[in-house]
């Protein structure tokens, strides 16, 4: 399966930290103009307008002219599609990190209780502890 040119543009749009920050702000506020967004961003209004145009071109946001300003809002469905795959990856790593944390902490607790053991009976629990040095045979 290949990405379409559309998808590539979308990824590129999302890959930029400034644009992601703009999306964050737009999601938080519902709507905003380049001017109001500039107040919260360390870049020029001109740069923000450029980023907003790009986001609009790939369909992540909509713009509606109001007088001299354009009011932007996020197209939630498009953003949801774009972030779904990404959130899957992030969620997977979160789960893995939590598992690593659990295993390492268990192993450390077992190490410590061995060192500090006044009661050797607690030591056999180590049999299952993930810290044991097992050479790879897989």
């Amino acid at each position: 399966m290949n990405h379409s040119a559309d998808d590539d543009d979308l990824w590129e749009a999302m890959a930029d930290p400034t644009r992601r920050k703009l999306l964050d702000l737009l999601v938080a506020r519902g709507q905003a103009t380049a001017t109001t967004l500039t107040a919260d961003m360390p870049v020029s209004r001109q740069a923000i307008s450029k980023h907003l145009s790009l986001l609009q071109r790939v369909g992540l946001i909509d713009g509606h002219r109001e007088g001299r300003e354009v009011r932007y809002e996020v197209r939630e469905q498009r953003l949801a599609e774009a972030t779904e795959a990404l959130s899957e990856v992030a969620n997977r790593w979160d789960r893995r990190l939590r598992a690593i944390k659990h295993l390492a902490e268990q192993a450390h607790a077992a190490d410590r209780s061995t060192k500090e053991a006044t009661n050797p009976a607690s030591a056999p629990a180590l049999g299952d502890a993930p810290h044991r040095a097992v050479d790879g045979n897989g």
Partner: protein, 155 residues
Amino acid sequence: MNNFTIERDIEIEAPVDVVWRTITEPELIRTWFSDVADVEARPGAVGSLTFRADTDAPHIVGITVVAADRPHRFSYRWVYPPGERATEANSTLVTFTLVADGDERTRLRVTETGLDQMDMADAEKQKFVEDHRHGWQVQGDRLRDLFASGHSSSP
């Protein structure tokens, strides 16, 4: 290519070397990751991770170790097409960074870079989707969380 990156981290109440072993030793990798792990923490080592090993359709993912700097950094490329060499263009790069915070605590960070190549991870992605299908709601908090790497005070 735009090198889209996911970054996640976690604080672990264990010494850095314990965490290092957990993420690099095959027998331990099997306790938190793939069902089978053929991994050697040596730059250039080519191995594999097997998911769904106990099903009719096991999924084997090749991995190529890029860096193994015990106990600070472990990185590898994966999800490249079977039989090919891992390159920047056909794989994503996973990097674990371990930072000791005293003798008993470790900050573990993982980044995955090159996610614009993600269509190649379909098999594993599919497994995840099957297991964890849930409506993804666009919420500010979730987005900020997801994109934390984009505008946090990274060094």
